[in-house]
Amino acid sequence: MAEEFLVARDVSYRYAARRGVEAVSVLQRFSVSLTEGEFFCLLGPSGCGKTTVLNLMAGFLEPVSGVLTLAGRPIRGPGIDRTVVFQGDDALFNWLRTIDNVAFGLRMQGMSKERRHVVAGEYLRLVHLDGQENKYPGELSGGMKQRVQIARVLASDPKVLLMDEPFGALDAQTRGRIQSELVDIWHKTGKTIVFITHDITEAVLLADRIGVMTKGPESRLDAIIPVNLPRPRRRSSPGFGEIWERIDALIENEEA
C-alpha cells in the first residue's frame, strides 16, 4: 500500500443553527485516505455532503472536529497546492480573456506577463483550447469553459485537483469527450484528483477507487470500491456493468 497523501480522519462538520433552522450535522466522523497520483471519485446520493467534503479539503471550511492533512501537513485555509474546478461557470473571471483566466494563479505568484502567457498558452494547448486565447468566457461554450477551469488550476501546478461535479451541466456528448480528455491529462500530469459526482457511470469511467457516501445528514464513507478496469474504459468494457450494479445497489440501499 502506497503512502497516505491526502487524508481526512474522523472529520465532522455542522452547519450552524440560524433563526428558525436547527443546526445540521452534515458529516459525522468522515474518514478517507488517498495515495499520491490517485484518481478518486466521491459518489453519493444528493444532499449527502460530497461538496462539504471537497470544501473542507480545499480549506474553504473548517471541520468541527477531526483533521485533514496533505502530505502529512494539516490543511488550514485555501492553498495553491489544492485547486478547485467548480461546477458552474461563474468561477471564471468574465472580464479576463481566456489566456488571462488561465494565467491568474501565475499572476498572483508575481510571474511576469510574458512568462505567464507562455505557460498559460501551454496549458490551453493541453486542454485543446489553442486559438481561443483572446476570447472572453462569455464567448465560450459550456465545455470550453470547463476546459478553461481545468487549464487554470493546472497552470498553478497544484498537488491535488479538487473537482466538484465539473461536467454536471454539460450535454452528454461533450461530457463524454471531456471525460476522456481528463483521463488523458491525468496520465500526463500525474496529479492526485478528487472528483465529485452523482453519476455512477462517470465514476466508473474515471476513478481508480470510488468512495460511496451514506445518505445525509451525518454522512460518512459507506464503502470504497476499487475499479481495476484497464483504461481507456467504455461502458461496454468487460466488468464495467458489474461494478456499476454493485455501486447502484449500495446507493439504492442508502436511499431506501
Binding site: G59, N94, W95, L96, M108, Q109, G131, G138, S141, M144
Partner: protein, 276 residues
C-alpha cells in the same frame, strides 16, 4: 483520447445574426426609425401649439428655434448651459469618486458596513433639496453649495449600486481566487473591483440623470445662472419660449452626456459586462 475540433463547440458569438441594414450602408434601420420618431414629435408639437394655443402659452417649434438662435448669438444660452454642465459634472465626478470606493469597502468589510450602513439607510431618503437652505447658510450661495448638493445626490445612488455589486459577486469567484493564491487584498483588487465595475458604471449612469434633476431644482431656488435659473426666471416674464429652450437644452444635454458615457463604457470597459 477523443479528438476535439473547436468548431464543434459552437460559440454563442457565431450564432448572432448580423444587424438588419438598408442598402444605404452604414445607416441602420433603427437610425431611420429614431430620426422619424423625433421629426414626428416636432410636427405634433407644431400642430398642437398652433391649433389650440396662443404662442405665448405654448410656443411652436419655429418660435423656440428663433429665440434659441437669438440667445445663442447673444451668448446668453451658452453661459447658462456651461455653468449648469460644470456644476453637474464636477458634482457627479466628485460624488462618484467618493461613493465607489466607499461602496466597495462597505460591501467587502462587514465592520465598515455596520458602522456606515445606518447613515446611508437614513440619509438616502432625505432628498438633496431638503438640505438646500442649511447648505446655503453654511457654504454661501456660490458654486460650492450647488456642487455639494449634486455630490450628495450622486453618492447614495453610486454607493448603493456598488454595494449591491459586491454582494452579487459569485462566491465561487472569490474561492477560486483564494485557491489560486490570491491574498484577501489581491482578491479585492483583482476580483472584487473588476466584478463590481458594471454595477458602479450603472450607478453612475443613474446618478447622472439625478444630477440633472437636482441642478435644475437648486438653480431655481438659489442661483442667478444656469438652465434652472433660466427656466424659473423666464416664468416671471411669461417667456415660455425661453422656458422651452431650457427644457430642450436639458433633454439634449442629458441625452448627449449619457450617450457619451455609454460610448466610453463600450469602448474601454465592454469586458466588464453589458450595460444597457
Amino acid at each position: 483520447m477523443t479528438e476535439v475540433s473547436p468548431a464543434r463547440d459552437a460559440t454563442p458569438a457565431d450564432a448572432m445574426a448580423p444587424a438588419s441594414r438598408l442598402p444605404l450602408g452604414w445607416i441602420k434601420r433603427d437610425h431611420l426609425i429614431y430620426g422619424a420618431s423625433i421629426i414626428g414629435l416636432i410636427v405634433l408639437w407644431h400642430l398642437i401649439a398652433t391649433t389650440f394655443f396662443k404662442p405665448q402659452f405654448f410656443p411652436p417649434p419655429l418660435l423656440v428655434l428663433s429665440t434659441g438662435r437669438e440667445m445663442l448669438e447673444s451668448g446668453e444660452l451658452m453661459e447658462h448651459v456651461s455653468i449648469s454642465l460644470q456644476r453637474i459634472l464636477s458634482g457627479f465626478l466628485i460624488g462618484s469618486a467618493i461613493a465607489a470606493p466607499a461602496g466597495l469597502l462597505m460591501g467587502s468589510i462587514p465592520i465598515v458596513r455596520a458602522i456606515f450602513d445606518p447613515y446611508v439607510q437614513f440619509f438616502r431618503f432625505v432628498p438633496s433639496l431638503a438640505w438646500l437652505t442649511p447648505v446655503v447658510i453654511w457654504f454661501g450661495i456660490g458654486e460650492t453649495s450647488k456642487v455639494l448638493i449634486i455630490i450628495y445626490t450622486t453618492i447614495f445612488i453610486v454607493l448603493i449600486n456598488t454595494m449591491v455589486g459586491v454582494s452579487h459577486i459569485a462566491p465561487n469567484k472569490l474561492r477560486a481566487a483564494a485557491c489560486l493564491g490570491a491574498t484577501p487584498l489581491k482578491a479585492f483588487i483583482f476580483v472584487t473591483l473588476p466584478a463590481t465595475l458594471p454595477f458602479i458604471l450603472t450607478g453612475m449612469r443613474l446618478a447622472m440623470g439625478n444630477s440633472f434633476a437636482t441642478v435644475v431644482s437648486a438653480e431655481m431656488i438659489a442661483a442667478d445662472s444656469g438652465l434652472g435659473y433660466l427656466i424659473f426666471n423666464s416664468r416671471l416674464w411669461m417667456a415660455t419660449d425661453k422656458i422651452f429652450i431650457g427644457i430642450v437644452c436639458l433633454g439634449a444635454l442629458g441625452l448627449t452626456t449619457d450617450r457619451f458615457f455609454r460610448y466610453l463604457i463600450v469602448r474601454f470597459a465592454h469586458q466588464y459586462g453589458p450595460i444597457e
